[in-house]
């Protein structure tokens, strides 16, 4: 049995694309047949749940019962990966709560894998967040995600300033999510399905959707770039599933990507 993994996707700042990155991660794991469940902390309405309803629960991550629902079941769940999409402003407090309940200590004992995808915005405030967040994550996998999907130019950043923050955290890994055309992005939002389902031209119920093939092509191209980035940082390796991952890589192309897998 592979070691369970908990992946936290968050940022203290809003509108930086946390849910978008969560969606790409769910598609990525689905494409690699890694059972995943997700928690959407945009309580009560939910955002991630719109796209991946079958595997997503909306929770209030600040409430103890919901924290129990997530963290007490990490090892007993059928899903190897537990992904938590943390709403804006709750990243630091969630990490504090995880430290207080001893969850972070579990990762030190190597009982599970803990990874944080910290989505960076274009402002200098995002860099301050890195310092704030990294102190909790000495034994966690820490991914700093530069999300360009909304054409973020990171205009506030001085490269040297960024590097000074980045270099303070030797185990941090940078991930870049490239830009997707606004129109394609908008259409997937409207379709309210996983990216992979949109590419396969299906609706949530599996019926043909009749999406523009140009837009599907752009989304496919973009998602493949994102997947390549996740491969580059050896994301599947952190799940302690090296054999499975290398077999998949050896197999080359995944020619059929079932949208059902992304939903189930």
């Amino acid at each position: 049995m592979a070691k369970p993994a908990v992946i936290l996707v968050g940022a203290d700042k809003g509108g930086v694309g946390k849910t978008t990155v969560s969606r790409t991660l769910l598609d990525y794991f689905a494409s690699r047949k890694i059972a995943t469940r997700a928690f959407d902390t945009e309580c009560p309405k939910g955002t991630l749940k719109r796209f991946h309803p079958a595997i997503t629960d909306v929770v209030d991550v600040t409430s103890v019962p919901d924290q129990m629902k997530i963290f007490d079941t990490v090892e007993s769940s059928d899903a190897q990966v537990t992904l938590i999409d943390i709403r804006a402003g709750l990243m630091t407090s969630t990490l504090e709560a995880l430290r207080d309940i001893g969850f972070i200590d579990m990762t030190k004992r190597d009982e599970l894998t803990f990874a944080v995808f910290h989505i960076l915005g274009p402002s200098i405030a995002s860099l301050d967040e890195i310092a704030e967040t990294s102190k909790f994550l000495l034994d966690a996998r820490y991914f700093l995600v530069k999300n360009f999907i909304n054409n973020t130019s990171f205009f506030d950043w001085d490269e040297r300033t960024y590097n000074s923050y980045f270099n303070k955290i030797p185990h941090a890994v940078e991930v870049v999510v490239s830009k997707l055309s606004e129109m394609a992005c908008e259409q997937v939002e409207l379709s309210a399905v996983p990216f992979a389902t949109f590419i396969a031209d299906k609706k949530a119920d599996g019926e043909p959707a009749g999406n523009s093939f140009v837009l599907r092509g752009y989304v496919r191209h973009w998602l493949n770039n994102v997947f390549a980035e996740y491969d580059r940082v050896r994301l599947t390796d952190i799940l302690d599933a090296k054999d499975a991952a290398s077999k998949l890589r050896g197999a080359g192309k995944i020619t059929e990507f079932s949208p059902q897998r992304a939903n189930s």
Partner: protein, 272 residues
């Protein structure tokens, strides 16, 4: 030209076998260079279909005149592929009406942009899945740019018919094999033969149509019998080659259909 695709994870759907029925290919008439005869070939092709009263859709992606639309104004659409809305309109439309042959006259300036988009969105794979055969008709010339672009297309769109077209007015004596190896299952080669100066001057006049050669109005009334005969023979020669392409496509369709039937028969025999 884009770098080799990294679409290693989610590929476009596997092509379906070609449908039975008349071929309605997408012809992309192209070259990275100007003044090599792209618009002329696109005109000949369009008028080839029009001559038989067959439906055809022609697209002018030339950004300098005179373009295809200047000669066949009522039959040509000018798309805009510079923005995504235009791309959706053009490329989605291109594969939606699969029963009409499409001819794209691609400007040398749009060459890289067009094929980058085609690569990203998987146009040719999607067309094939819908039983539409894409054919790249590449006007060859002696420049190294042409040879390099041809090689890039050949590598990037392996499996797609890439036909070198020799326009004898610019590429006389230029061997195909060295820089422009035939890259198609269609065993045809295209050649645009030479035209005398008088005939050439006539065909380059805007609004000139091969279909109107029999008309008595100007400029057709001004031409000599010899020029008229030369143009008529020239158009016929071109059409003969286009028919060869169509025949090759039909043969490919039949072969594919036979292979599908054969493998289905084998599978059911094995299952039984």
């Amino acid at each position: 030209m884009s770098a080799p695709s990294i679409d290693r994870y989610i590929t476009a759907p596997r092509p379906e076998p070609l449908r039975r029925g008349g071929p309605a290919p997408i012809y992309v008439v192209c070259s990275p260079n100007r003044q090599v005869g792209k618009t002329m070939l696109a005109r000949l092709l369009t008028e080839h279909y029009m001559a038989d009263a067959r439906p055809v859709a022609a697209f002018d992606l030339a950004d300098e005149g005179p373009g295809l639309a200047d000669f066949l104004a009522h039959h040509v659409t000018i798309p805009n592929i510079r923005d995504i809305r235009g791309q959706v309109r053009f490329f989605d439309g291109l594969i939606e009406t699969g029963n009409v042959p499409k001819i794209i006259d691609l400007s040398h300036r749009e060459f890289a942009n067009f094929f980058t988009i085609v690569d990203k969105i998987g146009l040719f794979e999607e067309a094939r899945r819908r039983s539409i055969e894409p054919l790249i008709l590449f006007l060859i010339d002696p420049s190294p740019v042409a040879a390099k672009a041809y090689g890039l297309l050949r590598r990037r769109f392996a499996g797609i018919s890439l036909l070198p077209v020799r326009n004898l007015m610019v590429a006389k004596g230029l061997p195909y094999c060295a820089s422009f190896p035939h890259a198609s299952t269609l065993v045809v080669s295209l050649e645009i033969s030479m035209l005398g100066p008088a005939a050439r001057a006539l065909v380059e006049r805007e609004k000139f149509s091969f279909l109107d050669l029999g008309k008595q109005a100007s400029p057709y009334s001004d031409m000599s019998v010899r020029t008229r005969a030369e143009l008529d023979a020239w158009f016929r020669r071109a059409r003969f080659q286009f028919r060869e392409i169509e025949l090759s496509l039909i043969r490919e369709q039949i072969l594919t259909a036979l292979q599908v039937d054969l493998s289905a028969g084998l599978q059911s025999a094995l299952a039984g």
